[in-house]
Symmetry: C2
Subunit: 221 residues, 2 copies
Amino acid sequence: MTKVPGAKSSLIAQRRGQARRSGDKDYQQRQAKLLKAAAKVFQEKGYRAAKIDDIAKAVGIDRASLYYYTSGKEELFQEAVREAALQNVRMVEEIRDEPGAPDDKLERFIVAVMQSYEEHYPYLFAYVQEDMAQIAGKRTRWAKEMSELSQRFNNALLSIIEEGYERGELDPAAGSPQVIALGVIGMCNWSHRWFKPGGAQSAATIGRSFARMVRDGLRRR
Amino acid sequence: MTKVPGAKSSLIAQRRGQARRSGDKDYQQRQAKLLKAAAKVFQEKGYRAAKIDDIAKAVGIDRASLYYYTSGKEELFQEAVREAALQNVRMVEEIRDEPGAPDDKLERFIVAVMQSYEEHYPYLFAYVQEDMAQIAGKRTRWAKEMSELSQRFNNALLSIIEEGYERGELDPAAGSPQVIALGVIGMCNWSHRWFKPGGAQSAATIGRSFARMVRDGLRRR
């Protein structure tokens, strides 16, 4: 694979910067299309194995044109993860804001999170495996955005648990909302070590088992 | 820091190998003492920051003598982790084999695991952060042993859940024993991202919250 030489690369970076600042709709649409194709390639091949040429091919442009839209694989991966994380945050905030019983919301939350890992497999898991604190420590704009999204995600779950405690539908004797939230998130996030789509159980089935345990416990009544 | 030159290092390695094969009780005791001191240094400083000199100092021997007992920091860390994991496996197998109700065993299991992370903080967490599959992929003797210990650990938890299902004390409608076990392990293991000893809640308190959620669920009755 030949590397784009520095001078040319810097010229392309300038043109990319100009195009981004211009707010051109056509450019934005093509960029969005590229991101979607990249996410699919990351999904199919994983981040490490995915090649920038695979992504260019998937979207039907040549490698040189691709650099007009992105600085490379890392940026595409970060954008794909950011997009998926943003979708997840909006989804759990919607669940929080819906009417209904907090324990139903908890179930929807857990099932939706498990399904998002299936939908964005494996690149969202690749992100989960990274230590968020380490990423946040990097102080890039992306790391800051991801840290904010992670905070909003946690807050949505906390709100659901707190609402349940306030309404008297969940039992505050269970523990502090923070610890319960960390337990629920842990249950879901640990799936990055073992869940693979197409296995014996779908993400939704696994999510429902987790949700049932969290809502009702394992003890037979 | 001066590196032990290759020739000398290989001579020490030979002497170390002879001493280990000899089964000398004195040697084994000093080795065990060194391991305990190393675990404490890993606990206090973390793996990366811990220096081989710190460990030698903690056990009161000089650096050169230390290499008579170990090849270095990596080996000491692996041994400390293996020792902690072995303790954990024995502990959860004991819980499995005790008489009593499966949901009580589940509670003891969860509390004990959380306490072990507190006791062996942070070096056991440093191991949890590593992807076990990657480690197992390395095919060293240590990786194989760790993979076996991990299997025994999972099996102990599976047995408790299956026993509960068979005795009718836990409700099989909750989900497959495998998925429930992975949820419980995930809840505990994810704590490597957020738990620090000396915080607002002890590991035992957090473990009891998790256990209560798993046994009884969050819904108020």
